[in-house]
Structure formats: C-alpha cells, structure tokens
Amino acid sequence: MKVFNKILYGATFALLVSSCSEFMDINDNPNNPDAVTPELLLPTGLTGAAFANNNELNRFGSTVISVTAGAANSPSAYDVYDIDSDDFGNQWRFELYSGSLIAFEEMIRVSEEVDAKAYSGIGKIMKAYAFALTTDTWGDIPYSEALGGLGNTQPALDSQEDIYKGAEGIQSLFDLVREGIADLGEESSLMPGQDDIVYGGDLDQWRKAGYTLMLKMAITISYREPALATTIINEVLQDGELITSNVDDLNVRFGMAQGSYAPAHEWTNVSTFAGDLIISTRFVNLLQSKNDPRLPLFVTAPTGSYVTIDNGFAGQRPLPQTSWSRFSSYVTGNGAGPVRLVTNFQRAFNLAEAVVRLGVAGDANEYYQEGIRASMSLAGLSASEIDAYFAANADEVNLTGNVDDDMEKIITQKYIAWFGNGVEQWTDWRRTGFPTLAPHQNAGGVDPNQRPLRAQYISQEINRNPNFPNNIFSNVPVWWNE
C-alpha cells in the first residue's frame, strides 16, 4: 500500500509543479501567425490599394463619368447618380481601412522595429496614396486616430483640410510622403524583391513615385489652396526626381490565373457580373470626334463595330452580351492589369495644369504634348503613328494660351489617358468641371441635376461609430471642391 501512496503523491506533486507554467502555456495559435515580416504585408497592401482604385469605385467612377454605362445591378444605379450609404461598404472596410491601410500601418510598424527603411518608406508613400483616395472619395475621414485597433475603436474624423495641410497632432499627407521618401534614402536592413509587385524592389523608382504623388495631391487641392499647391509643386520640381517615363509608372501588377486577376479583368471578362457594364456611346463618340487612334486600342469591338449604350439608357440592352464593347486588354491585361495608380502622363498633364493655372515656370504646351504622347505610347502606338496624329490634328494637340480653353484641353486629354481609372477621372472632373459632360438619361439619386460629388458614409460606420454624421449626401462637395 505504501508503494501506491508514493506513486499517488509523486504523480500529484508532479502535476502540481508542472502546472505552474508550461502546462498552461499552450495558447499559441497553430492556425494563424501572430506576427509576419514586412515582405508578407507589402503585396497585401499594394493589391488592396489597387482593389480600392480598380474594383467597385472604378465601376462607379467610370460609369458616373460617362466612360462606361451601367447595364445591370449596381452600375445601373451609379449611371443615374443613385448612391447611398449601402454603397462602397466593402471598399471602405475590406479594401481600405481593414485592407491596404491596416496592412501598410502594420508594415511600417514592423519595419521600423527592424530598421527596414525601404519597407517603411514604401509603406508611408502608399499609405498616403490610400488615405488620399479615401478622403477624396468620402471627404472628412478618420485619419490621425484611425487604424489604432484597441487604442481607439471609435476614431474621430479629421477634416479633409487638416488631412492635406496638417494640423496640431495631424501629420499632413505631404509630410507623410516626405517622410517616406526620406526613409527610402536611408540604410535598410531588408530590401524588397519579388514581393514588390510594383517596382520589383527598385527604390529609385519608388522615390520618383513619391514625388509624383506629391505633385498629384498638390494639384488636387490647388483650387482651394493655390499658394500651398504652388509651393509644393515648386518643391518637387526643384529637389525631386519625378516619373518621366512610362516604365516608371506606379503600376500594381496582377496575374493571368483565376484568383490572381486584376479586378477590372474579372468583372469585365470573367465573373457573373460581367453583364453589369458596357462602354458608353458617349466615350466612343468623344474619341471618334477627335480621330483618336487610341479608340480601337482601348475599346473592344467583337463584332467589328462598337456596340454601346447611352448613359442612363433604360431600354433593352444589346444582345448577345458577347457583342458588347468593353475595356480592352489595355485596361485588363488579360488578368495581369496592371492597375495604374500614378503615371507618367498624369505627371505631364499635372505640370501643364500647374503652368497654366498656377503660374509655375515651364512650357505648358510641351507638358501637354508630353502627356498625350506618353498616353498614346502606353496604349501601344508607335512614335511615327503618334507623330502622324499630331501632324493631322494640330488644334487638338496644341494649347491656345486661354486658361479656360487650355484647362478643358488638358483635362479632356487627361480623361482620355486615364481610361480604365474612373477614380482619377471622377476626381479631375469634380475639381475642374472638365471634360464637359452632358447629364445622363433618367438621372435620379439625391439630386438628378448633380453628378455625385462624394460617396456617402457607409451605414455600418454610422451604426458603429457615433462620430460619423448621417446627413451628408452625395451632392455635397468635399473640402477641396467647395
């Protein structure tokens, strides 16, 4: 019996002792990591930003700006200006705040811990890009208090003015990019490679993208803050290296297999929602009126002629759907994209605008022509084809010296060049009123006489965060557009 007692005491004692630490220390999740390295977050952030620009907001932007027409489902509502708080919830939630933004936030945090300055630099530039897209779309948004997790589960909104210009406790988007560019110039413990699906790890190109992004953001606020915009543009012209070649474009590349497609390819050619969008008759008419050689390169014509509908058209859609004119592989890349976020032609048109409107030093006409050439080259036209177009269409490719006329020319050419990026087209139209667009048929929504000027805050945020106002509708301009 004593033997038994000893065993029992021994067993119990062993259990009691072991229980103190190791026995209970088993709550490490075998299914999901609790920390990852920057190179696993970079592709997530980049594709998230590309989705934000290229997915539903592109279906909305391209439609509301008369490039595409809505044939069914949500796009047919966008086509008649009808958006409300049930729209773009996925974009806000999954592509921006819980997608690219939190991925970049986390990537910056992890990178700074290990002095991976290359990653923190890219992260800051891209975070600024994604926040700019968010505020341009929704106006005042959570920014300085956002992405705090447990630290702040109901962040307050910052005004768009403070987000762009900075304020007490609020770093301006420009400063965020400046900080990113500075990081890129420092020694880095880790260097991106394949995981950088934009530049393959070329930090010089990222630096150029950073300066070109600053130029874009300065142009965005330039009606509201011309002096600040001019200062920033002069700054980037002076010490910046800008994107000056199409190969420097900030393009997020996707793949040509199911599960890797760029969004515009999937909803144009693959998914069951491919019947939602058709190219607008108005866009085809615009390019035909300009004899623009990019038309057949941009827009498909499966039957040999362009099968399109007018914006807001409520009648029978053309049949069969296989005859429809759609985004060509210029936009979809057969799945690979790329999704163009910041480009060479954009830089050129922005500088042309800066010279024309803000009096920045330079030759506006040269910048204007550079923009058109860059776009045509990107579309696949050879130098001789471009020269031929320039020779035959001198009025179209030359500015006149009249500010209003020149602005219309610059932004209309920029609009054509941005084909496939409805977000940028919509933002330029909101800023400048160009290109001149006729109202859509059967327009409705909050104000049938006004194309949407912003997106409404999503209902889920209104339910969850009392800081969100629920009475700002899509016909209210954002701060830089006031």
């Binding site: 029992l8 259990l15 709550n27 609790d34 989705f51 997790g149 969004p263 390819h265 945020e461 965060n465």
Partner: protein, 1035 residues
C-alpha cells in the same frame, strides 16, 4: 442503485430471526421493477414487534395470531403497504414503488452519491428502462417529455440527425449552451460538427448518438450551476450524468442479457394537400411552374398536357406524390451483455448494434459498440475499476436546404406532377425534372449526400484506497477520443455545383481528464448528530481538436466519388486547437440529524485560454436542505414528507482558445464581382500575402460568469402517495465573452471582450402519484411542467442588436436583441397601424411593403409539459407519454413555399371565388377602413407574404402522443424449467399522434440542428413515426 441497497439490507435483515406463531401466512412480494421477487422486505404484524423478511426470491412466511391481524410490508423505496389477513393463507403483494423516491440515492457531480433528501438543488433521475426500447436510437430524443427544466428539440427524422438540448434556458451569448455530458465519469463529447454551411447541407449527429440507450442504467440531470459546480466551467449549462449498466448488484450471479428490437419508421407530419388544381399559374397550365395554380382537373382542353421534356401525360392529381416519395424506414437493434459479480468484484462485456435505414433512400445510421468493464477490490484493500468502449457510428444523409436539394424541391412539387411514377433520370444518369435548372428530388437522393464514419474510443480507469475508515483517496483517468471521416459528394449535374464536387474531411477530437479525490467523513463531530464529509479534488483536463479538409470541384469521371476525380481544388486546409484546464475543488457537506443539510463548494480553475497572468478564477456555491417533517416530528397522513431547499452558485467559464491576440491570415480581397486570394501568381512568381485579422484579440479577457439562485420544495402527501417537487430559479449571465462590433476605421471589424447580461427565470413543477391501486392493478402518473423566461438585458455600449454566429439568410437573422429573449429572428415585418391592424395597399389589395430589421419570431416556448401514465396489471406494464409545447415560433420556408404554390389543402378551397386579405386601408385622415378589395385566390395566398418575411412565422404549439410502450414480463413460474432468468416482450411507438393548431405540419423541426440557432425550418426533412417490437431475456 436500488439493487445495491437491496442486497446490503438483505444481508443485515436476513440475520434477524423469524418467529413462529399460530396461523402461517406465506406469499411473495414482487414489484414492476422486481418481478422476480424483492428480497429483504420487512413484514411486521401491526401493533406487535414480531415480523419476518422475504428471502432472495421475495418469498416469506409469517405466523399470525388471528385473521384480524394486519401485515405491514415496508421496504426502502416502496410504499409501506398494509394488508388485512382475513381468510387468506397466501398473500402475494405487488409492491408499488414509492414514486417520490424520497430515499433514493442520487449520483451527483463527480460521481458522488448522495441521499436525495440532502440535496439543496434540483436533480432529476431517469432509470434506464425509461429510455431503452422506446423505438428511438437517439438518447436525447428518448428523454423528451420526461424532464423538467430541460428543452429538447430534434432537428428532423433524418437518421442520426442531431438533437438540441438546453437546461434551464440559454446562458451564454456565443458559447455552447449544451449541457456537459458525463458517461461513467468520462467527460463525453456531445459536439455537433457542421462541416457544411448549415443553411444548405446535411444534418450531422450530435455525438451523444454514439451511446446506445439500451446500455444505460440511469440518467441524472444536474440542472443548475449549484448542482454542477464541481465539474467546473463546462457545467454552467448544467450536466447530464449517465451511468451505464455494470455487473454490480448481481449477487455473484452471472447474467447474460439479450435484447433485440425491430422498429419501423414512416413519414408523418406532412401537411394536407389540395387535389383539384394542377401545375400552372393564373389558371393556366405551365410545365415549368413550381405552383399548382393551373386549371381545375377536368377542365375541357386539359385532358393531357406536355411536360417540359416533351412527353405527353394526363393532367390529373397525384394525391400521394409527396407521401410516396418516402419509403418505410427500419431500425434493427440487438444487444448482448454478460455481467457477473457483486458490488466489489464484477465485470461486464456488452455488444450493441443499431442499424437504421431512413425514410428516404440512401440514408442510414449504423452504430456498433463493444464495452468491457469491471471492478476489483484487491486483497490489500485497493479498489480498481476500468471501462473501455469502442463505437463505430456511420451515417449517410442527403442534402437539405433551400433551393438545390431534394428537400428544397419537395415543397415545390405541383399536385399534377407524377413525382415517383416517372423515370427521374435518363440513360446517362442525367436528372429528368420539370424544372431544368434543378434536380429531380430522387436524383438528388442518389447523387448528393454526406457520409460520416466515426471511430470512437472512451474509457476510464480508477484506483481508490480507504486509508482509514473515514478517509478515502482515489485517482481517476478518463479519455474520450474520436475521428470522424466525412465525404461530401455532389455528383456531376448537381444543381448547386453542375460540374460536381467532392469534399473529404477528417475531424479529430480528444479529451483527457485526471481527477484526484480525497474524501474524509466523520460522524458526530463537534456535537452529537452532526456529520461532515469533506472532499478535496483536483482536475486536469486537456482537449484537442483538429480538422483537415480537401475540397475539389469539376469532376471528370461520373460516379467516381474520390477527390482525385476533381480538377480544381478550392478549399484545402487545416485547423486545430488545444486547451487545458487545471481545477482544484473542495466540498464540505454537513448533515445534522439527517434533517438539516448544508453543502459548501468551491472551485478554482486555471485555464490555458485566458491571459497567463490572470488565468485563475474562483467560484463558490452553497446549498441547504431542510426536511421539515423530520425536524418537527410531523406525523401526518396528509403531509408525510416536506423538504425545503435553497441554493446559490456561480460558475465561471473560460474563453475559447486563441482569442487573446490578433492574428494574421492569408490575405484575400473582393467578392463575387472580383476577387483574389494569396498567394497570387504575378509574372511567373508565386507571391504570398498576409492580412491583419479583422478581430481584435484582448489580453484583458476574463471569464464569463453564470450566477444562479434556486429555491424549491419537495413534498410527500397522503402517505407519500403523491409527491410534489417545485422549483424556482433565477440565473444571471454576465461578463460574456463576445465579439463586439467596432468602427471599421479602427482597421478592424470586431473586438473580443467581456460584455453583456442575460437573465433566465423559470418555474419547474413535478408531480408523481399513484392514481389508483386495486389488487394487481396500479396506475401511476407523473406530470412535469416547465416555464422559462429569458431576456437579454444588455449587450454592449451602443450595441442593441447582434447576430448569433452561424449561417443566416440575409434579412432573416437569428439574433441577440436587447430586451428580447435570446435567439429571436430579425427579419421583415408587415406594416401595421397603431391598433396593430395590417395595412393594405389601396392600389393592389395586397399588403404594403414590409419593413426590414424587425423582431418577427421568438423560438422559445411559453411552457412545456409532459404527462407520463404508467399502468401495471399483473405482468403487463403500459406506459403512455403525452407532452406539449405551448407557444414559441417556428419559421418555415417549406410551408410558405407550399402555400404560395397553391399546394396546401386550404389553397384549394373555394379557389374560384375572390378573396379579401385581412387588413385595413389607411384613409389618410387618421381613419382606417376595413379592406374590401377583392383579389383572386392566387394573389390572396401569395399575398400573405413570401420567403424572408413575417408571413413565414408560425405558432409552434403542439400536443403530442410522444411515446407508448407495452411490456409483458413472463412470470417466473413459466421460466423455472427454462434456462431463462427473466423474459419480456414489448411493443413501443413514438410520435403516434400530434395536434398543432398553428402549423400545417409538425412544428418540431430545426434544420440547423443542435446549437444556438433555433426555430428555423429551412426545407428540412420531415419527422417520423416509429413503432416496433422488442424482446429481452436473461440467461
């Protein structure tokens, strides 16, 4: 337990001598439970001290002074009975058991045996014969209607389908609300693993299905936290303690028991259909219509019609087209057990098989189990015992759910469609059906199914030693582990996955427990009459779970059901978790003069799932019991026994594993418009990507608590002929571990934290009595009644509504809503005026559009009750159980389908006459006019509302003849010259009749199976009526 008592008492009493006097009366004492005779019954002559006791066969002999003598028969557990001798020289007594079981020994938490009178909380005990041979292979179903405070709802008549059980309401927002199941001391998994979407899939079993009812000795239900506190965290939803049969109490005999039964199953609960109108719409035939709104049969020009696949068929009613879709199911059960020994040394070997074919082709549930167990008291005083059971359970079921499934289609069969009389597939195996985008239901049964094969082993090993006569120490190890291998097949041509799909899943669960228990008992400590028992215990627990799955689509070879047949693999993965718990507990039980009892318990749990620096938590319970009649020496024929009890207890519950941190997962973007999933292929490289999880973990997480108060009383009236047990409880759940929604701009979607408050209050009443006793006829009746009210008091700051995790339809959400009972359905409600009248659209005569986001149904019943009648006559026993569920709602897709489709009987009545929907028209000036707009029948019936709206909600009130069983035990005199010890034959039936005033079918349905989502009939399988015959004999 009674048998154990019997033998002990017999040994004590048999030693006393027997007097010899004048006239000799002989006889035999038997009872329904002990037809072979009750040994050790005390017989005294009233008014004297002389007496006798019965022998092992229940026979006695006693000398009486005269014919006026009165014999008083008494024995523990039976009603003391007086018999005047008169002229008789033989008096045989059929002893009626004392139904109040006042002196019953009850198995409580951790296997501790207690006298019922000492308990300060409600415990209900069911004997094995009340659940075995009742035409029902699922133990939980056979408990229906027999327990107070317990809500048991089966999900359907599919073989092996899961059954939901909640004790005293729902206490946790998102945790499991199923009680802890303990089988022979083994913590026993009763999980229901849904590998498919519960809106569309088949219904897996709850794993208590691995226990055959025939092996059960007793079931004890520990209802509240006070009763279950020693089991710790996991018993906050109560506990069910199952004891299986053993060789103890056989008095060194060896007994072979054989039982065998055959049962048949038929579909029942189908609604009544109309048979005047056929397929079509607006009184015209349409060969792809799901409705029966076509012309009346016999309409000239509609003698024959052309089907959607080109054949010409007569246009006539097929009145039994739905009923004939079902076949007769069969349940064959066989069991053999060999047991031997006595209380200290015994063994049992038993084998049981159950083979069930369902009421639809290609559905089955088969269970094979082998058990070996025994006890041994060694010469050195050490007691060892062990028990191992192996179970193999296999089930196969078809797919249920809205749309593309056999049961999604069966509610859309027009009355003129010859469902079973025509071929359902062509020569190539393609479905032939009126609706070309769906499958013929019979084709679905053949080609869409889920198969599950479970191999399970569970067992225990216990060693104990009496260090002295007052101190005992024991250690017990228990294990329960199983592997469930599942194959989920939808062959090529399946409506949901036309290219076919195959999933292969492996689920593994295991649980280990080690319990050290030290028990010290002393009598007359401190003062005379005060007894104390102190228990100290330690529990070590580990639970593992793992699932591995491969899912492939785009099959190549028809009828080749192997994942290698798939071309595209879309969902392969692994998930596993492990958790540990270390508990220390103590219980001090005090008894004063056997009428005042106090029990103090406490437990400290340390859980691996809580933050390491704060992972221990303590919770106490106190329970008191006071036997009034003994304390005050009340001797009354009216109030024979009175006990008052009260308890208060708190039980803490830990978190699920891995909730403390925020995790990363493989990134993906998009939805069905466009999507990517990492790794993505870019320029020939595979690029991995991870995303920050959307749930914020919390390293501040603390346990959730359930606090319960209970008061009750137990009264024996009229010499204990009637017993009454009353209980009232109040349970408050606080600090719930819950994923609360956060602002998305924080970068996250939810935050795991402690919030919420929910209250359950309830009344339980149990009445047991002997209504009539005349000669050899006895009529016993037992009534139970339960009424529970649940209310969600509070969720989180700024959160008044949250969905219950699980699969829900958009617009029909099982929810937690502040101020409402748990689990209400939130959906679209009709518009009403202030007086509650339905508002009619004056333009159409139909209802105005519905309003989203309203509470439309409450699945919790108002009250439930069961009435068990047992009649004993000679060797016959007849049991009749009627139960009812009053109130509570069921949301039924199927009935809405069949009503909108014009198939139900009510839609055929006066179809040619115009109708007016009940409601009022808003006159615009605050006045309302009764609706007078006439609409055709089709508009009327479909105007009542479609899917996803208030109109699918029905009152689930039902009265049911749940169970009838008749058993005949062969008298022993017939068996004397046979090798049989005892033999009986029985007939039983289940669900023989029901009456549901508010629902066209049987409202006991629950397509999502066991779990926190209840009250949804999403095109599930109907219920069955079972009946059969069983035999049992011993050798």
């Amino acid at each position: 337990m009674k048998r154990v008592l019997l033998s002990i008492l017999f040994l004590v009493i048999a030693s006393s001598s027997v007097w010899a006097q004048g006239k000799t009366v002989t006889g035999r004492v038997t009872s329904a439970e002990e037809p072979e005779g009750i040994p050790g019954v005390n017989i005294v002559i009233k008014g004297s001290s002389s007496g006798a006791t019965t022998d092992l066969d229940g026979r006695y002999s006693i000398e009486v002074p005269s014919n006026d003598a009165v014999l008083v028969f008494s024995f523990i557990g039976y009603k003391t009975t007086e018999q005047r001798v008169g002229n008789r020289s033989e008096i045989n007594l059929n002893f009626a058991s004392d139904l109040s079981d006042l002196s019953e020994v009850i198995v409580t938490a951790q296997g501790i045996e207690r006298d019922e009178r000492s308990l300060g909380y409600a415990v209900q005990s069911i004997k094995g014969d009340m659940v075995s041979q009742k035409s029902e292979p699922n133990l939980l179903n056979s408990l229906q209607g027999k327990l107070t405070g317990v809500n048991i709802v089966g999900s359907s008549g599919a073989p092996g389908a899961s059954t939901n059980i909640n004790i005293r309401g729902i206490t946790s927002f998102t945790g499991s609300n199923q009680p802890l199941i303990v089988v022979d001391g083994i913590i026993f998994s009763n999980d229901t693993d849904n590998t498919q979407n519960t809106l569309f899939g088949s219904q897996p079993s709850n794993r208590l299905n691995d226990i055959a009812p025939e092996t059960i000795e007793s079931v004890n239900v520990l209802k509240g936290p006070a009763a279950a506190v020693l089991y710790g965290s996991r018993a906050s939803a109560g506990a069910i303690i199952i004891t299986t049969k053993s060789g103890a109490g056989l008095e060194n005999k060896t007994e072979v028991t054989v039982n065998s039964s055959v049962n048949f199953q038929n579909v029942y609960g189908l609604p009544k259909f109309q048979n005047q109108y056929g397929q079509g719409t607006q009184n015209d035939f349409n060969n792809t219509s799901t409705g029966s709104w076509g012309p009346a049969f016999g309409t000239p020009g509609f003698e024959t019609v052309e089907t959607s696949f080109g054949t010409t068929v007569p246009y006539q009613a097929f009145p039994n087209n739905i009923r004939d879709f079902y076949q007769q199911g069969k349940i064959i059960q066989n069991g053999v057990s060999v047991a031997s020994g006595d209380r200290d040394d015994n063994f049992i070997v038993s084998m049981n098989t159950t083979m069930q074919e369902g009421i639809i082709p290609n559905s089955s549930f088969d269970r094979y189990s082998v058990q070996v167990g025994g006890n041994k008291k060694l010469n050195n005083g050490v007691k060892v015992s062990g028990n191992v059971t192996y179970v193999r359970s296999e089930s196969q079921n078809t797919i249920v759910g809205n749309g593309g499934s056999a049961f999604g289609q069966i509610t859309r069969i027009p009355r003129s469609y010859d469902l079973v009389g025509q071929p359902f597939q062509d020569e190539f195996g393609n479905s032939l059906y009126y609706n070309p985008t769906q499958n013929h239901p019979l084709w679905s049964l053949e080609n869409e199914f889920l198969r599950s094969k479970v191999d399970r082993v569970f067992g225990n090993f216990k060693v104990g030693y009496d260090i002295s006569d007052w101190l005992n120490v024991s250690y017990r190890v228990t294990a329960d582990t199983y592997v469930d291998r599942r194959k989920d097949v939808a062959r090529i041509g399946s409506a949901r996955t036309p290219a076919g799909s195959i999933g292969e899943d492996m689920l593994f669960r295991s649980e280990l427990n080690g319990d050290l228990m030290i028990t010290a008992s002393k009598s007359n400590i401190l003062t005379e009459g005060l007894d104390a028992t102190l228990l100290l215990g330690q529990n070590i627990n580990q639970r593992n779970f793992q699932s591995l799955g491969v899912f492939g689509t785009d099959l190549n070879v028809p009828f080749f059901d192997n994942v290698s047949n798939a071309s595209v693999f879309t969902g392969s993965g692994e998930f596993s978790n492990v958790r540990r718990l270390l508990g220390h507990y103590a219980q001090l039980a005090l008894a004063y003069n056997n009428y005042l009892f106090l029990e103090l318990s406490g437990r400290v749990d340390q859980s691996s799932t809580l933050p390491a620096n704060n992972n221990a938590y303590f919770y106490p319970s106190v329970a008191a019991s006071f036997v009034l009649t003994d304390a005050l020496n009340i001797e009354s024929n009216f109030l024979s026994y009175a006990k008052l009890r009260a308890s208060a207890a708190t039980v803490g519950r830990d978190a699920d594993p891995y909730l403390l941190n925020t995790f990363f997962s493989t990134a993906s973007y998009g939805n069905n418009v466009a999507s990517i999933t990492f790794p993505i292929g870019v320029g020939g490289n595979n690029i991995p990507g991870f995303a920050v999880g959307t749930r914020l973990g919390s390293d501040q997480l603390t346990p959730e608590f359930v606090t319960s108060y209970e008061v009750g009383g137990n009264f024996g009236l009229f010499n204990n002929r009637l017993s009454v047990d009353l209980a009232y409880f109040y349970t408050q759940s606080t600090n719930q571990i819950f994923d609360v929604a956060v602002s998305n701009s924080s970068g996250f979607d939810t935050q795991t934290t402690n919030v919420g408050e929910m209250v359950n209050q309830g009344i339980e009443l149990e009445l047991n009595g002997t209504i009539l006793q005349a000669g050899q006829f006895t009529w016993d009746m037992g009534l139970n009644f339960t009424r529970i009210r649940n209310e969600v008091k509070y969720i989180a700051p700024g959160v008044d509504q949250s969905n219950i995790p699980g699969n829900g339809f958009v617009g029909l959400t099982p929810s937690i809503v502040r101020g409402q009972p748990y689990g209400v359905l939130v959906g679209n409600a009709m518009q009403r005026n202030d007086a509650g009248e339905l508002l009619i659209n004056p333009l159409t005569g139909g209802y105005l559009p519905t309003i989203a986001g309203q509470v439309i149904a409450n699945p919790q019943p108002d009250w439930v009750a069961g009435l068990m009648n047992t009649f004993y006559f000679k060797d016959f026993t007849l049991g009749v159980l009627v139960d009812t569920r009053q109130g509570g709602d069921v949301y039924s897709f199927g009935m809405v389908d069949q009503r909108n489709g014009g198939a139900l009987e009510m839609t055929g009545i006066d179809r040619e006459l115009p109708r007016v929907l009940p409601g009022v028209i808003d006159m615009g000036d605050g006045e309302y006019m009764p609706n007078n707009i006439q609409v055709p029948a089709q508009t009327y019936w479909s105007g009542l509302g479609g899917l996803i709206s208030e109109s699918g909600v029905y009152d689930a009130t039902v009265w049911r003849l749940r169970e009838v069983s008749l058993t005949y035990s062969l008298p022993r005199r017939y068996l004397e010259r046979t090798p049989f010890g005892e033999a009986s034959i029985g007939f039983s039936g289940r669900n023989l009749w029901f009456f549901a005033p508010g629902f066209p079918g049987d409202p006991e349905t629950n397509t999502q199976g066991a779990g926190n989502i209840q009250g949804l009939d999403l095109n599930g399988m109907p219920n069955t009526r079972n009946y059969g015959v069983n035999i049992r004999f011993t050798l």
